[in-house]
Amino acid sequence: MQKKIIKLSIILLIIFIIGVFFIGLNKNSIYDTKNLVGQKITKIELEHFSDNRIITAGDLRKNNFTLINFWASWCGPCRAEHPILLKLNEEKNLELLGVNFKDKKNNALEFLKDLGDPYDDLARDELGKHSINFGIYGIPESILINKDLVIIKKFIGPISKNDYNYIKNIVRQ
């Protein structure tokens, strides 16, 4: 009897593991960011850069459009897109949320001091863990969302002139 139970549990364990693998196969992989467009972000919890508070989904619902920009002072291409971000900051319908990614606080502050601060709000993700929830795998990356927190577009790499025009057209509509 005891032996049978052992055998049965081994088989059940194997079935369970293989079952999980099967389901896992059919799941969308996190790094496949193609499918992110059109999806709604349900949970946002980001540590504010300087204040002792958490930026949540509720904060972003107040804005008509939000561009979440992931950046770091050590990232070269982030420098390249910075002037465009500064220009985007002039758009009325758009708020910029910067997420400082795996960075040192002082370096980040120096970076903003040197190049200007385009962000309406700034969060930090020192360990890069929260950014994973946004499907970020390298920076710079930016996500444009609307009032309902639906992702309109995701920009991988530095924001270009074309991207700038695209964003401008959308937020001015």
């Binding site: 293989i18 999980v20 099967f22 896992g24 196969l25 996190i30 070269g76 420098r79 390249a80």
Partner: protein
């Protein structure tokens, strides 16, 4: 044309596989004592045809036949000859063909070299192996066909991913495959042995060389991959607990356990069912690893091919394999009582096995845990080095101590050779550890224990080696591998504690100083190469203390086909340490991001691993000599 030849050959191979199974069953029914010549011939044909099939694919790569989609996607007419050839297995389809080749050749050689073993056992092993071959051939033909055509025929190929254009990576897949695909043969043999109730001792004798072959090659294959990641991916270390690396390590643990318990089975006819479990487990883990890497279920830095349909095929195949073997095992399993003396060699080998299984489970859990949390809780996690380091490192200390003491024990008897000697060695190791700290610098308590236990293993192996030269004990392959393992852990420990890593931005002409070093950005230039352009920096490293003056030349390479940028580390390997620099450009600024590392004893880590596997080859040579 080549595509048709390739496909025809694949189909011929399927037919040959089926006929081998058919004739094998015929042979089982007949009263003949020997395996019929016909089967040998078909097996020979099977191996020949699959090799020709592979040569066909290589030819397609060499002549750049872009009508084959696989060549189109992974080659380019301007690519150097060497990488045209290695491109053949640098992709999913081609490497699967390599799988089948190894399955087939091992099948033939196993049949050939086990002539003095019982007929039924050999026939059943052959049948099982051919079922595996067929499974993979179908997969190859219908899901991952390396000979699929593309229309209209492209004029030029897309090129091989530049990071795969590397000598270490060209030999990495073949070495690794001989290792873990080679383990298929003792999977088949284990099932053959269960089906025929074959004698444990004889079974051990028939598979031991195959285990040695696969273990030695697996060790080298892991090494080649690791060396490649060190200088090509710019990761700057020897191991990263990346899922793909783990996938190659899992079967290695099972093989190492098997390698040791086989000795017990052969000498004492004990642990038969345990050995069977390990044989089955090794190949199952190999296929599991392939599944994890190829299906895209795991995200790894270099999961180079993923496609869910592949995953489903491999998973179904894997499930069938697991269920068939588990059910058969349950059916045949008989409980046996082992009465082992607590200080006998058998016990110590079992202890080794439990350690190996512990490592295996730890690494397996760490590797698949993210899949489980994602499926069950929709939570994404990644398991990184901190987990492995915390769980594995403390246990390594115990493992090394047992590894030093184990070989000093005797079969059956409850007695050590010499406890006094062991205590002296331990004192010596502690002394060496403290002199390292005294001469250089201190490190954590845990590192102390690691160094002490590694030195302990090194010294006791060296004493064994001395005895072995005096013909007191003839066991040099074992001693070599153990000695090298001791050195490996020692060098890893020292490497970990004495590394220096700095990350900073520099522009041309600037100088950065820290500790005893200064790094000067001397020059930058653009140079054209056969299949890429490179921005090459010149950095002068100065060590004030030692009057060292060296230049390193990291590169940023711009490849045309496919257009990709790669960052090449510049590494100055020395006997005592490696200097390592990578640079990346910061857009719209004159600054470059520089990563500088000093890595002590890197080269010795690689050499230790080579010697570990050399021990395996040496034993193989000894075994071969004994038989003739």
């Amino acid at each position: 044309m080549l595509s048709d030849i390739g496909n025809t050959l694949l189909i011929i191979n399927i037919l040959l596989g089926i006929s081998i199974i058919y004739f094998s069953f015929q042979n089982l029914k007949s009263n003949e004592i020997l395996i019929s010549e016909k089967i040998y011939h078909i097996c020979l044909f099977q191996s020949t045809f699959i090799i020709i099939c592979f040569l066909t694919l290589i030819t397609a790569f060499i002549v750049s036949d872009f009508s084959i989609i696989n060549v189109y996607q992974n080659s380019h007419s301007l690519k150097p000859f060497f990488y045209k050839v290695s491109g053949t297995w640098g992709n999913h389809e081609g490497s699967l063909l390599l799988w089948v080749i190894i399955l087939t050749i091992f099948s033939f050689l196993f049949l050939l070299y086990n002539k003095h073993h019982q007929k039924n056992y050999r026939i059943y092993s052959l049948i099982i192996q051919n079922i595996l071959i067929l499974g993979f051939l179908f997969f190859l033909l219908f899901n991952s066909n390396p000979f699929s055509k593309v229309l209209p025929i492209p004029k030029e190929g897309l090129g091989l991913n530049p990071i795969l254009q590397d000598p270490a990576l060209a030999i990495h897949p073949p070495l690794l495959y001989i290792g873990f695909v080679g383990s298929s043969i003792y999977f088949s043999a284990a099932i053959g042995s269960l089906l025929t109730n074959y004698s444990g001792k004889l079974f051990a004798r028939s598979i031991k060389n195959w285990v040695l072959i696969s273990w030695s090659f697996q060790t080298l294959g892991i090494l080649a991959g690791s060396v490649w990641a060190y200088y090509e991916l710019g990761w700057g270390g020897f191991w990263f607990w990346d899922p793909v690396e783990n996938a190659s390590l899992l079967p290695w643990f099972a093989m190492s356990a098997l390698l040791h318990s086989l000795i017990v089975l052969e000498k004492r006819n004990l642990l038969y069912f345990w050995v069977i479990i390990l044989c089955l487990l090794t190949f199952i883990l190999s296929v599991t690893g392939t599944f994890l890497v190829r299906s895209g279920i795991l995200n790894s830095v270099h999961t180079f091919a993923n496609d869910p349909s592949r995953g489903i095929y491999i998973l179904i195949f894997l499930s069938l394999m697991i269920f068939a073997s588990v059910l058969l095992f349950f059916n045949k399993f008989k409980e046996t009582n082992y009465n082992l003396n607590s200080n006998s060699k058998e016990t110590f080998i079992l202890i080794n096995n439990w350690f190996m299984i512990f490592y295996l489970i730890t690494v397996l859990l760490g590797t698949v845990y993210p899949i489980f949390t994602e499926v069950l809780t929709d939570h994404k996690v990644s398991v990184g080095p901190p987990f492995y380091n915390t769980v594995i490192i403390p246990i390594v200390i115990l493992f090394l101590l047992f590894m030093s003491v184990g070989p000093q024990t005797q079969w059956i008897k409850n007695k050590f050779y010499n406890i006094n000697l062991l205590l002296k060695i331990l004192m010596g190791s502690i002394l060496i550890n403290f002199s390292i700290i005294y001469l250089f610098k201190g490190y954590s308590l845990l590192s102390n224990f690691i160094v002490i236990s590694a030195v302990f293993l090194v010294i006791s192996s060296l004493i064994d080696l001395y005895k072995s030269f005096n013909k007191l004990k003839k066991d040099s392959p074992r001693i070599l591998s153990h000695l090298a393992f001791g050195f490996l852990i020692l060098f890893i420990g020292l490497n970990y504690n004495f590394s220096l890593e700095k990350d900073f931005n520099l522009k041309l002409g600037e100088k950065k100083s820290f500790e005893n070093y200064s790094i000067e950005f001397k020059d930058i230039r653009l140079q054209d190469f056969e299949n890429y352009k490179a921005v090459i920096g010149e950095f002068k490293i100065n060590n004030f203390k030692k009057n060292l003056d060296q230049s390193l030349y990291p590169e940023i390479r711009i490849y045309e086909n496919p257009s990709t940028i790669t960052y090449e580390a510049s590494i100055r390997s020395g006997i005592l340490k490696d200097y390592y620099i990578t640079m990346s450009n910061i857009d719209r600024s004159d600054y470059y991001n520089i990563k500088f590392q000093k890595k002590p004893f890197m080269i010795w880590i690689w050499i230790s691993v080579i010697f570990i596997s050399l021990g395996g080859f040496l034993r193989l040579y000894q075994n071969a000599k004994k038989n003739y």
